[in-house]
Symmetry: C2
Subunit: 210 residues, 2 copies
DNA sequence: TTGTTTTAATTAAACGTTTGTTTAACTTTG
DNA sequence: CAAAGTTAAACAAACGTTTAATTAAAACAA
């Protein structure tokens, strides 16, 4: 595992923000260098290329995702529904705290052409699915969760709803209703609203017969 | 309303596909000209600029969305839940038949900077929300739908789930399980699976007390 | 501690491509 | 003959990357 010095990390974080706001091809290395207050040549010097800088962003955040998954695996004592609730909250928390990276993921996963980062995205998605699916299917086998549920699509609903909130919040934020809120307050507000909604949704479809 | 001749329309459709697959900035006007089999200068000649070509793509699809919304407004005789089911099916159908455009929307809605197309996206989203929200809130007022539901987030769930399926299907398609399916068969399969899942979800959260 | 040598960091300038757009000449159409 | 369509070529600007020169930091021997 590589370690980044202060300057390298600053370049990575600036690149992450700009890639999220304007897309990979919409951001020039000169933009990044200027905002990170470094010479343009430093980017090639440290990372080799613009493409590899994007990969560095991914390595940084994917590392955090691995830690996230490992921590989720430790909650063995909870009841299935409580486990799902905990998982929902943690996932909301993670995604809203990593909004820039989630934007990049949303963009890059749409790319048709194969690329290293596209493979990384789907590798991570499969890991996440492999972790969440058994929680539901085990509870289904035990008769705790209702069986006639498309687990893969339910998780798609979880990801999709949170993902959809990120661009929507950019617009919602402009509403005068929220103008006195700080950025952090607004994010907490979104987290709570999302959490309530998704928990109701999961409880309704997993624990009620039709 | 403008009319496009065969050549103009072919440019628009090629541009839509390439913008969807590689992003706006990831696609060059030379790419578009080559795939549409026209001279590069024709793009400026017909549309003025690359940016305005993107806007032409939007005008074409937004026009279709307006027609879609108008048609939805005519279903007044159905019961609320049936109305929601119909709405879900129509929306799934529309989005999966307009995958290229939906990809472009997904990308462009992430852009931080203001732009004509960004405004168009949110204008359309607001129209869609303004149409769907009263169907639910009216039924809530009549005691048919459960009241303690976040309507805006429920619609976010609808959009988000379908939106999430589009990039996921690019990967899912590669699974050997689906290798004998034609492209159309696969899309029908996705539509059915999505429809079943989303209807269950909506029924569960809208019609059951907790 | 010195001075010396080696390595790493930093810079402005230049590199060759590619970008979106325009020009001016030419052809087709009505 | 006028208008619209079409073309290859050229345009300046921006792109990602590299170069070569310079400064700063680290390592080392005396």
């Amino acid at each position: 595992m590589e370690e980044y010095n202060e300057k390298q990390l600053s370049i990575i974080l600036v690149a992450e923000r700009l890639f999220a706001d304007k897309g990979f091809h919409g951001t020039s290395v000169r933009d990044i260098a200027q905002e990170a207050d470094v010479n343009i040549a430093m980017i090639s010097y440290y990372f080799g290329s613009k493409e590899k800088l994007l990969e560095a962003v991914f390595r940084l955040r994917m590392e955090a995702s691995r830690v996230f998954i490992d921590e989720l695996l430790k909650n063995d004592t909870m009841a299935p529904l409580e486990k799902m609730y905990s998982l929902i909250d943690r996932y909301i928390n993670k995604m809203l705290n990593e909004q820039y990276f989630q934007c990049i993921m949303s963009r890059e996963q749409l790319n048709r052409d194969k690329s290293p980062v596209r493979d990384l995205i789907w590798q991570l998605k499969r890991e996440m699915l492999g972790l969440m699916e058994p929680i539901i299917t085990d509870a289904q086998a035990d008769g705790i969760f209702y069986k006639d549920v498309d687990v893969m699509l339910l998780l798609t609903t979880l990801f999709g709803t949170i993902n959809q909130i990120i661009p929507a919040s950019l617009i919602l934020r402009a509403d005068p209703e929220f103008k006195d809120m700080t950025e952090d307050e607004f994010r907490e507000y979104l987290k709570n609203r999302l959490s309530t909604h998704l928990k109701k949704l999961f409880k309704a479809i997993l624990t009620h017969e039709f």
